[in-house]
């Protein structure tokens, strides 16, 4: 793909103070619970009091992140709205499911059913932004956000004029969700404090998180601090597949490894992916700084969007927040960034980002 996605604005509602905060991860939010929840923000800014009362948490978070993102870009109506979510509004699904079971399929309130539909946030965003254009929702686990990015590139490549797309993702953590995924081995038996997550790469599992992040992306670089140049998804990854994908990305974009100023790494502390992460880190040249983020947002299927929010913030501010720095490289530039994400089931995505000058 050759269509760069210029990032005009971003907005994350995350376990950190990422929403309109003057404090860029300083200090970072910490917890020992192994569950990193989003803190509520002022949802009234975009959602009417009547709608707010009826809306579940995921909808309020997703809609507010999306609308705030558009407002920051000064875009009223984007060309398209493209999202990714692994599980959508889990709370709504649980409410409807449990009611169905306990009420024995009688007299059910349909709200949970409707709001658990994976494109319900999309529908609301389209309505609020009056966006009658292309509207798409990807639901492919750890690649849901990456597919939204990929489709935004496809969509911008199809248009000749300047265009803006609202592209983002959202996923929610609930008690039931934690319980079930914990049984599938997602989370560490002894949960470390989140800020120490990556010091515990010797045990399986990660810590749980959630969040929404949206981006106004464009084919016009005006006002953008960086662009996503490429995105690759690797199913059931091993180091060889990842290495080949990274090499291809570099060659395609005329870069060598030493040109990478920052590796933004979604390593999640799960010992079961050390066979990918260790060779990746070992292969990095001395120039490259390593920046990490899962200790800040927890692990969830669309955590990569929090990573890209962090990337955009780093390009915007021209500095790396100390709370996200894993290793300092010798390069003092913030120009080329390699993004790497790995999920619990060893699916890997890589993206290449570049500063706009």
């Amino acid at each position: 793909m050759t269509q760069p996605l210029y990032i005009i604005s971003s907005c994350a509602i995350s376990p950190q103070l990422s929403y309109d905060s003057e404090h860029f991860l300083a200090p970072p939010v910490s917890t020992d619970s192994g569950k990193m929840y989003v803190g509520d923000v002022d949802y009234h800014r975009y959602i009417s009091p009547v709608a707010i009362r009826r809306m579940s948490r995921m909808l309020k978070i997703g809609i507010t992140a999306g609308m705030r993102c558009l407002e920051k870009a000064g875009v009223k109506t984007p060309l398209a709205i493209i999202t990714g979510t692994s599980r959508g509004s889990v709370t709504d699904m649980e409410v409807f499911m449990k009611d169905m079971i306990t009420l024995e399929e009688e007299a059910l309130n349909p709200s949970g059913f409707i709001q658990s539909t994976y494109n319900s946030v999309n529908g609301w965003l389209a309505l609020m932004a009056q966006c009658k254009g292309y509207n798409q929702a990807f639901v492919h686990r750890g690649f849901s956000f990456e597919l939204a990015v990929f489709d935004a590139m496809l969509t911008l490549a199809e248009t000749d004029s300047d265009a803006y797309i609202l592209c983002g993702s959202f996923d929610e953590l609930t008690e039931d969700y934690y319980k079930i995924r914990d049984k599938a081995g997602f989370f560490k038996r002894l949960t470390p404090p989140n800020l120490a997550l990556l010091a515990h790469y010797d045990t399986p599992g990660s810590i749980a998180g959630e969040g929404a992040a949206f981006f106004t992306v464009s084919n016009n670089s005006t006002g953008a601090s960086c662009a996503i140049l490429d995105v690759e998804m690797i199913h059931q990854a091993d180091w060889t597949k990842v290495k080949n994908a990274i090499d291809d990305l570099l060659i395609k974009n005329g870069l060598v490894a030493a040109d990478i100023d920052i590796l933004l790494s979604g390593m999640n502390g799960d010992s079961r992916n050390a066979f990918i992460v260790e060779p990746l880190l070992a292969a990095l040249p001395v120039q490259t700084s390593i920046v990490v983020f899962k200790h800040l947002c927890g692990e969830y299927a669309t955590a990569s969007s929090f990573g890209i929010w962090l990337a955009h913030s780093i390009f915007n501010l021209g500095k790396i927040p100390p709370a996200a720095l894993y290793r300092s490289g010798t390069s003092t530039n913030i120009r080329n960034m390699l993004f790497f994400n790995v999920t619990i089931s060893n699916n890997v995505s890589v993206m290449l980002l570049r500063a706009c000058v």
Binding site: L127, F138, A184
Partner: protein, 402 residues
């Protein structure tokens, strides 16, 4: 100039059965596949007519060469594999193994039919160990990944969920990737199995008719829910020619737009549906009068049929026959877009206008009514298929004779 996209193979399973012959027979005999369900576990199976595929999970599994019983597969995945298997029976699988292709699948509730039975056990403190293997089946993408793996394929994969337009959206995504030269082939479609969750969802919305659904009828009273899976093989024209493939149709137009009107209901004036159809026709370079048949979304809900009927009337002025095939199959949700696209392809191939069953009285708001008699030996050069979903998500597809 972007590559032309053609459709060269299809596979589907619905409550009518699998394959082209069984469906054409049903259309000719006016035989609906909707009945009282035998496999779904729900309180409503004795009172609601459902488009349930007439095979048990064990029968589906065994036909795929999988073990029967507690095998870790959900009905959603089994339907998907069955339909992809049918598609592949007419294609040399090496085509998909030697060159990277896209597998774009669509789904609305993952393996919900299984998960709703296991849920209480899963959130208890003592989950039975044999239940754990079903945890990944919560996810919509499980059917996508399991199906690719079953056939030994390693495609570019994506799973889409835009409610009832999901698989129409999937067809569009594959075509766009081919046009941009990212892949030369794409298997696109969708699957949804019945679940008590979905049945109760639509039931609680009072969108379900206890008798057979009556699309576009003044006295329509909602839908019959169904299950199905369907897929089309999309190829660039060059790739299809290179292998001398039989071309069913050219995929000449598509549009995905949003009503931006209400979170669940369509704009009652039909402006959303109108815009979608007009945009798809513009892409195909067609005037409305050149379309020979419209396979309408036609859910038989109050809202959809009013909006869609008005849009069809305004754009086509009563000159183009239209019908909803949902009385034959039920509303198969994520699979509806693709199976109705396939019906449209067959209508074009065989020169058929498929009748809209159960229609008696024209809607008082409309001057148009659906085709109710099966017509044969028609010349259909272009057909249009609509899929509209919750969240204002509208997709129209246009297919043309090769």
């Amino acid at each position: 100039m972007a590559e032309k996209v053609v459709i060269t193979a299809t596979g589907l399973i619905s409550c009518i059965g699998s394959g082209k012959e069984s469906h054409l027979n049903a259309f000719r005999e006016r035989q609906s596949g909707v009945h009282y369900a035998r496999h779904l576990r729900s309180k409503h199976i004795k009172t609601l007519l459902l488009g349930e595929v007439d095979r048990s999970n064990d029968e589906l599994a065994v036909a795929l060469g999988l073990p029967a019983g507690d095998n870790g597969y959900t009905r959603t995945s089994l339907l998907s594999m069955t339909a992809v298997g049918e598609l592949l029976s007419g294609v040399d699988i090496a085509l998909l193994k030697n060159e990277r292709f896209a597998f774009i699948n669509a789904n609305t509730v993952g393996g919900m039919g299984k998960m709703e039975q296991l849920y209480i056990d899963l959130i208890s403190d003592h989950t039975a160990p044999e239940v754990l293997k079903y945890i990944p089946t919560f996810d919509c993408s499980q059917s996508t990944e399991v199906t690719a793996r079953h056939f030994g394929l390693e495609p570019f994969m994506a799973t889409i969920s835009t409610a009832c337009s999901s698989s129409a959206s999937a067809l569009m995504m594959g075509a766009r990737m081919i046009k941009q030269g990212i892949v030369r082939r794409a298997v696109c479609g969708g699957c949804d199995a019945l679940s008590a969750f979905t049945v109760n969802g639509f039931y609680s919305l009072k969108n379900v008719d206890k008798s057979l659904s009556r699309p576009f009828d003044q006295n329509r009273n909602g839908l019959n829910i169904g299950e199905a899976a369907g897929y089309c093989l999309l190829e660039s024209e060059a790739a299809a020619k290179e292998r001398g493939a039989y071309v069913i149709a050219e995929f000449t137009g598509y549009a995905n737009t949003n009503d931006a009107y209400h979170s669940t209901a369509p704009a009652p004036d039909g402006s959303g549906a109108h815009a979608t159809m007009a945009k798809a026709l513009a892409m195909a370079g067609l005037a409305p009068g050149e379309v020979a048949y419209i396979n309408a979304h036609g859910t038989a809900t109050q809202n959809n049929d009013l909006a869609e009927g008005r849009a069809i009337e305004r754009l086509f002025g009563g000159k183009v026959p239209f019908s909803s095939t949902k009385p034959f199959t039920g509303h198969t949700l994520a699979a509806a877009g693709v199976i109705e696209a396939i019906f449209s392809l067959w209508a074009m191939e065989e020169g058929l206008i498929i009748p809209n069953l159960n229609f008696e009285t024209r809607m008082e708001e409309l001057a148009v009514s659906p085709a109710t008699i099966l017509l044969e030996n028609q010349t259909l050069n272009h057909v249009l298929s609509n899929s509209f979903g919750f969240g204002g998500s509208n997709v129209s597809l246009v297919f043309s004779k090769p």
